[in-house]
């Protein structure tokens, strides 16, 4: 159940894309998003699709796996589609009581749904190909210039690293406590809303207690190893800018160029 969520999950294959510098991938993702929002007609989606397919093939992540990431957001995509379909004025081709469907609405609906699908697929490529630790490392580096104006870049990155690091641990813990309570006859799945909320107490109380204990232990362990924030810390895996990264940025610039050209000419 919890395992079906592929968004934000790392899918290691060791491909070229996986080995790119996280900064390249973060910048690339932002360029991709910006480009996507500049699109005005369907033609440009072909370019987006080509780029996405290239990245997905290059990353060796199965396409099926990437598409699986769309599933939890299907509701959002459908709502977007139908709102556009019903709310756009134009030539009506279907009418049922107060409900109108227009050709313009259909076009707009498909257009927006595609934008969302590509957006989700594009951004999930970032997390699929980058381990959470490298990702936060990249974010910290990109935020570094902002340190001068008082942005606590290192602290933010550390918080993110810890939060990401403990998601699987917490899921595992949840699974364990849920099973332990189910072994005692607890039922998390049936009953009305109030009943279900009540049935969460035996799960949440132990989960909170163990989270606090874990946080305490972690703080103690960090302090025992003299952690004092980002000042003068060196890294085990220093980020290195390589030729592939330059190539990646050139590719993304080209993509942006095409998007701009398609929009204004």
């Amino acid at each position: 159940m919890l395992k079906d969520i592929t968004i934000g999950q790392h899918y290691p294959t060791g491909s070229l894309i996986h080995r790119l510098d996280p900064r390249t991938k973060i910048i690339g993702t932002f360029v991709f998003m910006a480009g996507l929002f500049m699109i005005r007609d369907f033609k440009a989606y072909l370019v987006v699709m080509a780029l996405l397919l290239m990245v997905i093939t290059g990353s060796k992540v199965p396409l099926r796996y990437v598409l699986k990431g769309l599933r939890p957001l299907m509701v959002l995509i459908m709502v977007t589609f139908f709102i556009n379909l019903f709310m756009t004025r134009g030539t009506v081709f279907f009418q049922l009581g107060p409900v109108n469907m227009t050709w313009e609405g259909l076009r707009q609906g498909v257009f927006m749904a595609l934008r969302l699908i590509f957006l989700i697929m594009g951004t999930s490529m970032l997390t699929l190909t980058t381990s959470p630790i490298t990702l936060t490392d990249g974010i910290e580096h990109l935020l570094n210039p902002l340190k001068r104006v008082g942005v606590p870049a290192h602290e933010l990155a550390m918080m993110m690293t810890i939060a990401l690091r403990f998601i699987p641990t917490l899921l595992e813990e949840t699974d364990k406590i849920m099973k332990a309570q189910m072994a005692r006859g607890a039922d998390f799945e049936s009953g009305n809303l109030i009943h279900r909320a009540q049935s969460l107490v035996p799960l949440l109380v132990p989960l909170f207690i163990s989270s606090f204990r874990r946080a305490d232990d972690l703080a103690m362990a960090m302090e025992a190893r003299c952690y004092r924030g980002g000042e003068n810390r060196t890294r085990m895996k220093a980020l290195k800018w390589q030729q592939a990264d330059a190539a990646g940025l050139v590719l993304m610039s080209a993509f942006m160029g095409i998007m701009l050209w398609l929009r204004w000419y």
Partner: protein, 287 residues
């Protein structure tokens, strides 16, 4: 209450790069009233196996029969299975959540929709079974108790459901020696007095050798060996090969024999060892 496992296979995350075959084609029969020791290296599939026995995990293929019912069939009422098969997880004290000890132990029986009187009776009995003073502790918060006491509260929480089969996943992990002996003795007593079928998962060969009727050795998702402690511990090399061992006292016997003694090697407890060594010494004096 018998358990029959037929061609049980379980695969985690099928079709992803994290795919692991936790259990491969397991066939086992456990007779009513048996005391089983389940041993195996970390990751050998013990935990996965025991979670199948009360329907917490569904097999990828194969079937499990508890008391003649196939619990892997769709439409089976899992609550009935969980009433029969009590499972105590590792570090069960982390599942405690209620304000008082009595309320926490009552959680299981209350889920079985028993009446209040019966629930209270069972709470009292369960606390007596694990040697917790009912009057003294029933209104205390479980979070005020010591680690060993908390673990016993958690075990009582499962016992209060009156299972016919009791499965314990390393019930003595990280307890002090006294707490460990007390819990194991209580499990032994329960097995004897209530004719419970007990499956004990443990890494301690000493405890296993001292307590159980039959050992099941798991290795890489399969049943590597099964038999009485006597037959299992005779295969010391095989056990060491898969990351296990024999009780230390058995090891001692073997080492002494290598130095020229003629002691029996199927000795698993210190008491037994004392007897055989004494009789050996007496024998050699007479000679």
């Amino acid at each position: 209450m018998s358990i029959k496992i037929q061609e049980l296979t379980h695969t985690y995350n099928p079709g992803s790069p994290f795919e692991t075959h936790a259990l491969k084609n397991i066939n086992l029969t456990i007779e009513p009233g048996e005391f089983i020791g389940l041993i195996g290296h970390t990751g050998s599939g013990k935990s996965t196996l025991i979670q199948h026995l009360n329907g917490l995990l569904k097999p990828t293929s194969g079937s499990i029969w508890i008391d003649g019912t196939d619990i892997t069939k769709p439409g089976i009422k899992l609550k009935d299975i969980r009433k029969k098969v009590g499972l105590v997880f590792q570090y069960p004290e982390y599942q405690l959540f209620e304000e008082t000890v009595a309320k926490d132990i009552a959680f299981g029986p209350a889920n079985l929709n028993l009446d209040e009187q019966e629930i209270q009776k069972r709470v009292k009995e369960a606390m007596e079974m694990v040697k917790l003073p009912y009057e003294g502790l029933k209104d205390r918060s479980p979070f005020d108790l010591s680690g060993g006491q908390r673990r016993r509260v958690a075990i009582a929480g499962v016992l209060a459901m009156k299972p016919d089969i009791l499965i314990l996943d390393e019930p003595t992990a990280s307890l002090d020696p006294r707490g460990r002996d007390e819990i194991l003795d209580q499990i032994k007593t329960l097995h004897r007095q209530q004719q419970l079928t007990v499956i004990l998962v443990s890494h301690s060969m000493e405890d296993i050798g001292r307590l159980v009727d039959r050992i099941i050795v798991m290795h890489q998702g399969t049943v590597a060996l099964t038999g009485s402690p006597r037959t299992i511990f005779q295969q010391a090399e095989m056990l060491e090969e898969i990351g296990l061992g024999v009780p230390q006292i058995t090891h001692l016997m073997k080492s002494m024999n290598q130095r020229g003694c003629a002691l029996p090697e199927d000795v698993f407890t210190v008491e037994e060892a004392k007897e055989v060594i004494l009789s050996y010494l007496r024998g050699s004096q007479h000679a």
